[in-house]
Amino acid sequence: MIRVALPYHLRNLARVESEVELEVASPVTLGSVLDALEARYPVLRGTVRDHVTLKRRPFVRFFACKEDLSLEPAETRLPDAVVNGDEPFLIVGAMAGG
């Protein structure tokens, strides 16, 4: 199971209170986790990445195992600790600053 932690507003949209768990076929990549997330929670389509281009929205970031994967291509394989469920895959709203 892949554990995905969503930011507050997306948890509300998806009507979940904590992490979500997703079954994702191997190889587990950045793109395949997002595909699985949107398949399970279609209401999130368009909120993490663009509907058509599938590009990450500019102020959404992807973290895993203390690494920022936001700029990595969709086919990037996620770390073993995420694949094993030991660590969550984090979808984060970027800091607004100020």
């Binding site: 930011p7 997306l10 209401v43 058509v52 102020f59």
Partner: protein, 386 residues
């Protein structure tokens, strides 16, 4: 007794304010969609329980919400209030994709820039069909739904009206006003900041600029240009849909022939810069504006919040101050943040960037703060209910 329901969109959620016809005692519901920017909420004239809402976020993009019970419960229009995530939203009702070749518009540096959908600024439900509504979006375009908001399709003819020459201002380039002609279902007026004013007479297939008479000597190199005028808001009275009133960046104007020719009616206003403009429901020649100091100073002159009323369709204006702060007030009133009800004694409402919503139950003669401490108010709409 009739009731009124105010739909208030703010920077951090939506609020619903209700009162009976006396409009003295108000109940406040909200925040709905807490933390999201609620650009606009509007009820269907054909079914007041049907309310559409534009929920947006700089982080997470666009969501459309719909209520079928007057704002008590909400769901994305492509889902049903079901416990299973596959059913309560399909991720389709927030899909706004420009039709065909996306094309380009003018960018800040003068080059051409591809159109990019950012958010829905305004939703205008059909006057007759609860399932039909129009959405004005940034980057400027108009979309239509005929299935209650489940899916949206662009009316691409608008961007063919010299869209390549439209250039965003600092506040973005959006279709922010949509007026449906109650006597001619094929006629729609729209306005775009830094784009201008446009009309269709064929239900949205083709559009033409209606800007003759507008003069923008401080904003445009050609003050009489056909497109590019920074129209802040237009309004009409349903009994006289060929008469439009406009608050432009600078200047208040009117047209008596559906936009073929405009004339300035700023008259004795202390400043003719401002954002909202609206028409008294019972008096088609009584109009309201909120003068703002200037394009550089987005607050009322002298720190006095004054609504100005003209009972002559413009030209002659009187300040309305009773109940409004007359010192140390430096809020703004945004373009979609004024509305009028349709009771016998017309109610006027407006919200401020300071979070106040003011209401008048006597046509503007006196005002009361309905709420004082909301987040910055983006939009105010009112429904008059039986």
């Amino acid at each position: 007794m009739s009731k009124v329901r105010l739909l208030v969109g703010t920077k951090k959620g939506a609020f619903i304010l209700t009162a009976d016809g006396k409009r003295k005692d108000w109940k406040v519901s909200g925040p709905h969609f807490a933390g999201w920017e609620m650009y606009h909420l509007k009820g269907s004239p054909a079914d007041p329980n049907r309310i559409y809402a534009s929920q947006t976020s700089g982080w997470f993009g666009q969501v459309i919400q719909r209520s079928d019970d007057g704002g008590k419960t909400w769901n994305t229009p492509d889902g049903v209030p079901a416990p299973t995530p596959a059913d309560f939203g399909k991720g389709v009702s927030n899909k706004f994709v420009y039709e065909g070749e996306v094309g380009t518009h003018k960018w800040y540096d003068g080059t051409q820039h591809p159109w990019e959908f950012k958010r829905v600024w305004h939703i205008e439900p059909s006057l007759t069909d609860p399932d039909t509504a129009y959405a004005g979006v940034e980057d400027a375009a108009i979309f239509k739904t005929t299935d209650g908001g489940k899916t949206w399709k662009e009316l691409p003819g608008l961007r063919k009206a010299k869209g390549n020459l439209w250039q965003p201002g600092a506040g973005g380039m959006a279709v922010h006003t949509i007026l449906l002609d109650p006597k001619n279902e094929k006629r729609i007026y729209i306005a775009i900041s830094a784009g201008g004013c446009f009309r269709t007479d064929d239900g949205g297939k083709t559009w033409k600029p209606i800007t003759k008479g507008l003069k923008s000597q401080f904003e445009l190199p050609d003050p009489d240009a056909e497109v590019g005028h920074c129209v802040h808001r237009i309004a009409l009275h349903p009994s006289k849909p060929d008469v439009l009133f406009m608050q432009k960046h600078w200047d208040v104007l009117r047209t008596d022939n559906a936009g073929e020719q405009w004339s300035e009616v700023s008259g004795n206003l202390p400043t003719d810069f401002g954002f909202p403009i609206d028409v008294n429901f019972n008096e088609p020649e009584t109009i309201y504006v909120v003068p703002i100091t200037s394009d550089s100073l987005h607050y009322p002159p002298e720190g006095k919040l004054r609504v100005y009323r003209s009972k002559t369709g413009g030209g002659e204006w009187e300040p309305l101050t009773k109940g409004l702060p007359q010192k140390d007030c430096y809020v703004n009133v945004l373009r979609d943040a004024m509305a009028v009800d349709s009771l016998d004694q017309c109610g006027i409402y407006f919200g401020t960037t300071g979070g106040q919503v003011y209401g008048s139950a006597d046509g503007g003669n006196s005002w009361n703060a309905i709420v004082r401490d909301l987040p910055a108010v983006y939009s105010v709409e009112v429904q008059t209910l039986p």
